[in-house]
Symmetry: C2
Subunit: 249 residues, 2 copies
């Protein structure tokens, strides 16, 4: 495989919710988004967690959407007083919020005779937003310019992942390899320093594993150029003493 000719698209995540910052709920969407983007060759450079605060969210959206190719928000798109993401995204782009006829029809169909004005609040979108359902999903994702507005409820967040995959495909994925060793970082560092220097296109990470009896350290090799990653792995394992590594993945 040849080396990627273009730099990867960049992305940021904005996680919205008092429940995360108060510790009421462990955050669980970031890792799902991160893995999805990795497979699409999109570089997630930054994630920010903020409260349900209109001004703060709006400011973050304005900043992140200027400095990244793509932004993904998680949370704050329900119908209650603490759901302010849609309005905040609209403000960030200087537009108002309108009712999407397509979402309104879906919500009316879903709730049937129980549908209320409150449910219909979930049909509000920033003016100019697109509804994407590339993969044929019934419920589309709301995308305003380069900002994807994703729901915070973990089960619903995960339902949007196939849409992201389909709509943003085409990039060269990042590869990741991992070498496990019983050596500790004190002994590994001199070997790693040489490999890091000789393989600048590969991102090398070293992670002590405290609770794994078979392994003291996991060393990872990441990049979009498969050959370069393989060469860095070979260079590193070639430096290890007899009996090492424990395994390579």
């Amino acid at each position: 495989m040849t080396a990627p000719s273009t730099p990867p698209r960049t992305a940021a995540a904005l996680i919205i919710g008092n429940e995360i910052l108060s510790g009421k709920t462990p955050e669980s969407n970031l890792v799902v988004l991160a893995r999805t983007l990795r497979g699409l060759g999109i570089l997630l450079r930054r994630a920010v967690v903020v409260a349900d605060d209109m001004d703060q969210i709006s400011r973050e959206i304005a900043d992140l959407s200027r400095s990244h190719d793509l932004v993904f928000t998680s949370g704050g798109v329900g119908p209650t007083h603490d759901d302010v993401t849609t309005e905040a995204v609209a403000r960030a782009f200087g537009v108002d919020v309108i009712m999407s006829p397509e979402l309104e029809a879906l919500i009316r169909e879903h709730y049937g005779e129980h549908c209320t004005e409150v449910h219909l609040r979930m049909a509000l979108v920033p003016r100019g937003a697109e509804l994407l359902n590339c993969g044929g999903s019934k419920w589309p994702a709301v995308v305003m310019r380069n900002v994807w507005l994703l729901p915070g409820i973990p089960e619903v967040f995960r339902m949007k992942i196939p849409i992201i995959r389909d709509c943003l495909s085409g990039g060269q994925p990042f590869m990741s390899r991992a070498v496990y060793t019983r050596m500790d970082e004190g002994d590994l560092k001199p070997l790693l320093d040489g490999v890091v220097k000789a393989h600048p296109r590969v991102e090398v990470g070293s992670y002590p594993k405290w609770c794994d009896p078979d392994c003291l350290t996991m060393v990872t090799f990441d990049g979009r150029d498969e050959d370069a990653v393989a060469k860095a792995v070979d260079a590193f394992t070639g430096l290890l003493p007899k009996g090492e590594p424990q395994k390579i993945e």
Copy 2:
């Protein structure tokens, strides 16, 4: 209990590590920190996740330490090439990095005759940093001005929590109550809006529970004034129809 007379101290978290942004490792320290701070009456207002990048970390530290009373970093304090937090914090405050004699002695004792120069890199601290071990912990926490440098390895991060608890005690803790109901947000919103308006000192959150057969929505009431929280809970439950709520915690 009387209402708190002073506003809460504010805090930010800076989570450092390529492994989080690449999705290799799910982030798991934020919720532990968030719950700890909540119990200390400290308001965690913001969390940021960045890569192992010296400039980015240094810039974030400078920003966050100016705009919050306390900052907690997680990750990047090991001895390898991808551990750049100590140096980045030093740069943010315009100081150099020095070897702490106290940490050096602890590390030499821990590794004994196997101790190397690489292990001793973990004794490096920004010049002027304090070593805090209020709770009598053998391994202290490194604190530079208002920035706590915590390790990223989840097991080691958790070992520092008792030090945070002991050193930062004295604030009035946040209280949190939760009311569980089978009502959906469409029916709840009109009730909630009234409670939110009448109880401005209480933070009210509404969370649909998709996977809990006994409950459609969890409504939470948070604040540092126990009486105010109790009154908001009573006001809300008083509005619910017969047979509700399912439970109160």
